[in-house]
């Protein structure tokens, strides 16, 4: 049913989602921690920027990324100065785009989890002479585990489901930027409905199972 270009697209998509999710967990943790605990006036603006990709259409994100990462854009000039070349039409470019695009789906669950942990366990740890870093790793992080599960699943799944942004900055290169959603689009446009069905059905099944797993392991989404 699935031929080798389809399998290549699936493999690429999984790689993209994995790399993106790992980066997002690393970057999202300090952002979420700060958002959960700060009393700074910057909390509102930062939270708004993080949430932007939820509201903005992919065409806006794709368009600005294409321009910003191009040879005359600020990001493009920066990457060229570093000798990295240009990001559009590359796997690295898709990773950058996906990190931005899926950011709220990782930061928000983590932020909720950290807020649910609250001050008291950390104060208790401090009275036991735990350093702030120690308290974070041995108290806050384990308590926030359900939040990490949600963040990982949503970040991964949202990246797998990305389409518009990839279409606009990807250039449809097999093995580099031709992810499953783009491959399905190509099949549909070329009237290859049988192949489109194969991939599309796999996508529906995957998404359903992922969400089912999420709700089964994390029944209410409530933190301890």
């Amino acid at each position: 049913m699935l031929d080798s270009p389809d399998l290549a697209a699936i493999w690429l998509t999984l790689r993209l989602a994995t790399v993106t999710t790992v980066l997002l967990l690393l970057m999202g943790t300090p952002i979420a921690w700060w958002l959960a605990r700060t009393r700074s006036g910057w909390k509102g603006p930062v939270a708004a920027v993080v949430a932007l990709p939820i509201v903005l259409p992919p065409t806006v994100i794709g368009f600005y990324l294409l321009v910003a990462m191009g040879p005359n854009g600020p990001v493009g000039q920066f990457t060229q100065a570093l000798g990295l070349g240009l990001l559009p039409f590359t796997f690295a470019g898709l990773v950058v785009a996906s990190v931005f695009y899926s950011l709220p789906f990782v930061v928000q669950p983590l932020q909720n989890a950290f807020e649910a942990v609250g001050e008291r366990p950390l104060e208790a740890a401090a009275t036991l002479r735990a350093s702030p870093l120690d308290a974070f790793f041995s108290v806050a992080l384990p308590l926030a585990r359900p939040g990490y599960l949600t963040a990982t699943v949503l970040g991964f799944a949202h990246t797998v489901g990305e389409f518009g942004v990839v279409l606009m900055i990807g250039g449809n290169i097999p093995g580099q930027t031709r992810v499953v959603s783009v491959q399905i689009y190509d099949h549909v446009e070329a009237m290859e409905y049988a192949q489109a069905h194969g991939l599309a059905a796999a996508m529906v099944a995957f998404s359903f199972l992922v969400l089912l797993g999420l709700y089964a392991f994390n029944p209410t989404g409530r933190q301890r």
Binding site: P71, Y185, E189
Partner: protein, 250 residues
């Protein structure tokens, strides 16, 4: 009567009256013909009072949409096969098909002086990305493949391909400088007979099958006065002058 209700009924009447006055035609337009068609449609509305609602996109996509019941009444295709196929399948009106333009392919770069007037830049291969429309979906992409094959550089440049979903997106890849050069439609980089920006090689017609772009009335538009009027208008001198100004042959 509540003031809001009054306003609403006035609006309804206004729309109803508008619909009765002039006929409307829904046109699916191949992406390469976007700018010329916007100008032609404006003239068409002025001259005939009919309104043309334009949708732009890849011909392959329109074909799929029409097969699945899209409400278009006229198709301005980027090729001659799709309209012929639609007529054969009973989805377009027999005898309404004609060639409204012959497309010209151009190798274009946003950088002045980058593309020489013989296309030697393709053989030198000192570029990272070459943009073309997806040959599976867009006739201009298929023509570009033919050209690369005839020049004997297909194998060498294929790893540098970036594919646009249609010719408009392909232009965007080159226009933003993300691809150094690419195959686009001459109509996209030419206005009033002159190259708008960058550098270009107009690919000789001998290097690819002619891109005959056919128009056809779709089954949905049978008997629609505005659709028939638009077809006639496209054959007229005014439309032809606009079409030629964008670099098409006729």
């Amino acid at each position: 009567m509540h003031p809001l209700a009054k306003t609403l009924s006035a609006l309804v009447l206004l729309f109803a009256a508008h619909a009765a006055l002039a006929d409307e035609v829904q046109v699916a337009v191949a992406a390469n013909f976007t700018t010329p068609m916007q100008r032609i449609a404006a003239e068409f509305e002025k001259d005939t009072g009919h309104k043309a609602q334009l949708s732009f996109g890849a011909t392959g996509k329109f074909y799929a949409q029409i097969k699945n019941g899209a409400p278009f009444q006229v198709l301005l295709s980027a090729d001659d096969e799709t309209p012929a196929k639609l007529v054969g399948e009973g989805l377009a009106v027999q005898g309404s098909r004609f060639t409204y333009a012959i497309g010209k392919l151009v190798l274009w770069s946003a950088k002045p002086g980058y593309v020489d007037d013989k296309g030697e830049v393709l053989k030198k291969g000192q570029f990272h990305k070459l943009a073309l429309a997806n040959p599976k979906l867009a006739p201009y992409g298929a023509a570009a493949m033919e050209v690369l094959g005839k020049l004997g550089v297909l194998g060498a440049v294929q790893p540098k391909f970036v594919l646009g979903e249609n010719i408009a997106q392909t232009w965007q890849f080159v226009g933003t400088g993300n691809a150094e050069l690419g195959f686009v439609a001459l109509s996209q980089v030419m206005k009033d007979g002159k190259l708008v920006s960058g550098s270009a090689w107009i690919v000789p017609a001998s290097l690819h099958t002619p891109i005959r772009q056919d128009a056809v009335i779709l089954a949905n538009g049978k008997g629609n006065a505005a659709a028939e009027s638009l077809m006639k208008y496209l054959k007229g001198d005014k439309a032809k002058a606009i079409i030629k100004g964008y670099g098409y042959d006729l």
